[in-house]
């Protein structure tokens, strides 16, 4: 009797779960953006959400939960109910919180759905700088005691800080050879560069456009495999130094643990379709964002790889609270 009851209940549950899945999505989806409204991540998320609405047939609402260097939004998207109606727009910082002791979750704990963007870091100097190429700058860094040169444009432990340190390491230098002067984003960093307070800025190429036009700064190299379309004169890391190096920041759709595989599949298909659409690609190019699309499988490998790499470089920099 008891057993039959249980089986019936289980059967009803299974049927209703199946029915719910078949209809997914049947109500509005919330996309958590861990950065403030009006910023770059927010802009990409909103365009993506607009595309997803058409693909999924339900509204996709962007909710900004900024603060704590994005740790609050990133934590929220992991602890949310895994029903597929609350998703997150994860950014590169997601891989740093475990190592910085800000959160207990690793990058690989998130359910990957798809990666849509990768922005390569670029090495900028003041227009009046004596260094004409990165090689000369690296030679100068090598010849002076550590800490003589200063870099800014990013916060401590943020994606571009780690990319810069990784670049130094790849070229056989101590990642701590150049001291970071933390700044909140690229704009105040370029201001410091123009005011003569620092030697280098690390940011994406588009973030430096206004200062390049004002003849206040010049980019020496970009940390990518190939040159960036809008900036054909800026050499890649490999062209400039002989050492291939890619590094920068990225953005992608993630979910909490325990999402149904069918839900992930539906979302993955929709995100990939939007990310590969002309509309999205045109927007990204106009705003100066790089497009790099990875499916759930590829994004998962990418997250695991990021987790390991970030751990090593943060330990090198002495800003990790956990050992590798």
């Amino acid at each position: 009797m008891m057993l039959t009851k249980l089986t019936t209940t289980a059967a009803i549950l299974a049927i209703s779960a199946g029915a719910a899945l078949a209809e997914y999505p049947e109500k509005p989806i919330t996309l958590i953006v861990p950065w403030a409204a009006g910023g770059g991540t927010d802009a990409v998320a909103r365009v993506l959400a607009g595309g997803l609405e058409k693909e999924l047939g339900v509204s996709v609402n962007v909710v900004n939960k900024q603060g704590g260097g994005s740790v609050i939004g990133h934590s929220e998207m992991l602890t949310t109910n895994p029903d597929g109606y609350t998703l997150g727009f994860g950014t590169a910082e997601l891989a740093t919180f475990y190592w910085a002791g800000q959160a207990d979750a690793k990058a690989s704990d998130y359910t990957p759905i798809a990666l849509v963007n990768f922005d390569s870091g670029a090495f900028h100097v003041s227009a009046s700088s004596e260094y004409g190429d990165v090689k000369a700058a690296l030679e100068a860094i090598k010849s002076q005691p550590a800490g003589t040169f200063k870099v800014t444009g990013t916060g401590t432990g943020a994606a571009y800080h780690l990319a810069f340190a990784g670049f130094l390491k790849a070229n056989g230098l101590d990642p701590l050879a150049v001291t970071l002067v933390p700044s909140q984003g690229a704009a105040p960093g370029f201001q410091e560069l123009a005011a003569g307070g620092v030697d280098f800025v690390l940011s994406s190429l588009p973030e430096g456009t206004a200062m390049m036009q004002a003849n206040k700064s010049k980019p020496l190299a970009v940390f990518s495999d190939a040159r960036i379309g809008a900036f054909p004169d800026v050499p890649t890391s490999e062209e400039a130094t002989g050492v291939a190096f890619t590094g920068g920041t990225w953005r992608g759709v993630v979910g909490p643990q325990g999402l149904e595989p069918e839900v992930v599949k539906t979302l993955e298909t929709a995100v990939l379709k939007v990310a590969n659409s002309d509309e999205f690609q045109t927007f990204m190019e106009e705003k100066g964002f790089g497009v790099r699309v990875l499916d759930a499988q590829g994004f998962g490998d990418f997250l695991a790889e990021q987790h390991a790499q970030v751990g090593i470089i943060m330990n090198d920099l002495g800003i990790a609270q956990r050992k590798e």
Partner: protein
């Protein structure tokens, strides 16, 4: 001149003028809600602005922010609750003036001052943008450190009657500013394992708690049954007399100048402009003892400054693409999306657009006067609603304002905690303003101090050997030590006298 005419033609389009009017009304409403700032009014408009033509989008943002900036003064005057952070500096002055039946000297002065400040800032923007931008671009962390420290030192000027209680309040504000992630190392400070505290104590939440919730507590504690309205008989015309305007000409002029300059500094916005001008006005005032208790001079200067700062913040935005405040940060985004790259070339490539911006500024600030008067009448009607209905609605709007900042219910706990704290403080005559100033400027001082030390390898001399930094540094030291030296001199003067008496 042709560029100016082309710009004029761009603005005089039906769609631009209609969006201006709609966004003006929207800005007035948002500004009137305590906690919803001019920045938030603009942020709410962004999805709409993206769909408009570039000129209409800019018109929307400029008009909306100018209106919201003034509208913040309305609840400040009627309810002692500032509608936007930029009104906080002179809230008590306005309320006391209104209570004294001098509506024209409170809201009227702030309305005309706001409009004049906006026009003043726009004129400086038109003629001095390239020059000012070259000055502002030389500001690095050393200069910002001194500027913020100077602002913090001004806290003593807004401290109220008891300097020691002012300092105590400032110290609480400074303590709140260290909660969160350390700027340099990323280490957590006073977070007690609570993820939400890693974001630090939010400024908007504290402002709402300190000014709105504590005021509601005070009203609730003094509640004596049903009355009609907050027991405030509002009389007087909503505009100042020409005579009192003429009397305030120096304060309005100074407010316009300081506001534009502070606004032109990247990162320093209307809030800081209002506080700085308020403190400076007190120094030059004929009746400094009235500040904080209904000073027309304080209102005239600071209300002018916050609107002038709006115009000033477009200087670095247009010339270098570096936003002067959070509103122009949104403007940069809109411009880029519309295919206009801010930077020195914008004056060549999009001269008509730049001229259109100037014209919109002038137009919006002229429009401010009639719409502002209407809003004052509306506000006056709103507060004659029964207390039992009015205050719960205000509470709801306040809580919504705090929640809307980061869509996080945790902010509501901060509002409650700060509300209780400040209520207790004020019942014991501790002023709230220094607490706010400590929270806002504490972070700026710390971050720029740390950045400067890192850049100079710990060498303190670099704080003085840059020309602007040197001047600001010496100025700060004068502000610090002048009371001590004056005190010693005064004591030397009065000492023999007091011995005579005994």
């Amino acid at each position: 001149m042709t560029g100016f005419l082309e710009g004029f033609a761009l603005v005089m389009q039906a769609d631009v003028l209609i969006t201006m009017l709609i966004s003006a009304i929207f800005g007035l409403f948002v500004g009137m809600v305590p906690g919803l700032s001019a920045t938030m009014a603009v942020a709410l408009l962004v999805p709409v602005a993206f769909t408009l033509s570039p000129v209409a989008a800019l018109a929307t943002i400029i008009t909306c922010s100018a209106m919201a900036m003034f509208a913040g003064d309305i609840p400040a005057a009627f309810l002692r609750i500032p509608g936007t952070p930029a009104s906080a500096a002179y809230t008590y002055d306005m309320n006391d003036l209104v209570r004294a039946g001098r509506l024209g000297d409170a809201l009227g002065m702030s309305l005309v001052g706001s409009a004049m400040g906006g026009v003043f800032g726009a004129i400086i923007l038109m003629f001095g943008a390239p020059l000012l931008a070259d000055f502002a671009i030389n500001f690095s962390s050393y200069e910002y450190f001194w500027l913020a420290l100077l602002g913090l030192s001004c806290a003593t000027l807004v401290a109220g009657d008891d300097a020691l209680k002012g300092w105590a309040s400032l110290t609480i504000g400074l303590f709140l500013s260290v909660v969160g992630l350390d700027f340099v190392t990323g280490i957590q400070r006073y977070t007690f394992g609570i993820t939400n505290l890693q974001a630090g104590i939010g400024f908007i939440s504290v402002m709402i708690g300190a000014f709105a919730l504590s005021e509601l507590f005070r009203k609730a504690a003094a509640f004596e049954g049903e009355t009609n309205g907050p027991g405030l008989a509002i009389s007087g015309r909503p505009l100042p007399t020409l005579r009192s305007l003429w009397e305030q000409r120096n304060h309005i002029g100074r407010g316009g100048l300081i506001g534009t300059l502070v606004g032109a500094l990247p990162g320093a916005g209307a809030d800081i402009a209002a506080w700085v001008t308020y403190a400076v006005s007190k120094r030059f005032a004929r009746k400094p003892e009235l500040f904080g208790h209904g000073s027309v001079e304080g209102v005239a200067g600071a209300a002018t400054a916050n609107n002038a700062a709006l115009s000033g913040s477009y200087v670095p935005t247009l010339v270098f693409g570096i936003p002067g405040d959070s509103i122009t940060a949104i403007v940069v985004g809109v411009l880029i999306l519309k295919g206009i790259q801010p930077g020195p070339l914008v004056f060549v490539n999009s001269a008509d657009m730049v001229n259109a911006i100037y014209i919109i500024f002038l137009l919006a600030n002229i429009l401010l006067v009639p719409l502002g008067v209407a809003a004052v009448y509306l506000g006056r009607t709103a507060i004659s609603i029964r207390d039992a209905i009015l205050y719960p609605v205000i509470l709801l709007l306040c809580l919504y304002g705090a929640y809307a900042v980061s869509n996080n219910t945790f902010e509501l706990w901060i509002v409650l905690a700060i509300g209780v704290l400040v209520w207790i403080m004020q019942e014991n005559n501790y002023p709230a303003a220094p607490l706010i100033l400590g929270l806002v400027l504490g972070q700026v001082v710390e971050q720029n101090f740390m950045s400067s030390l890192i850049k100079s390898d710990g060498n303190v001399i670099n704080f003085f050997n840059r020309p602007i930094a040197g001047v600001l540094g010496v100025l700060t030291l004068i502000v610090w030590f002048s009371p001590i030296i004056m005190g010693i001199l005064r004591r030397a003067d009065t000492a023999p006298e007091s011995t005579n008496k005994t």
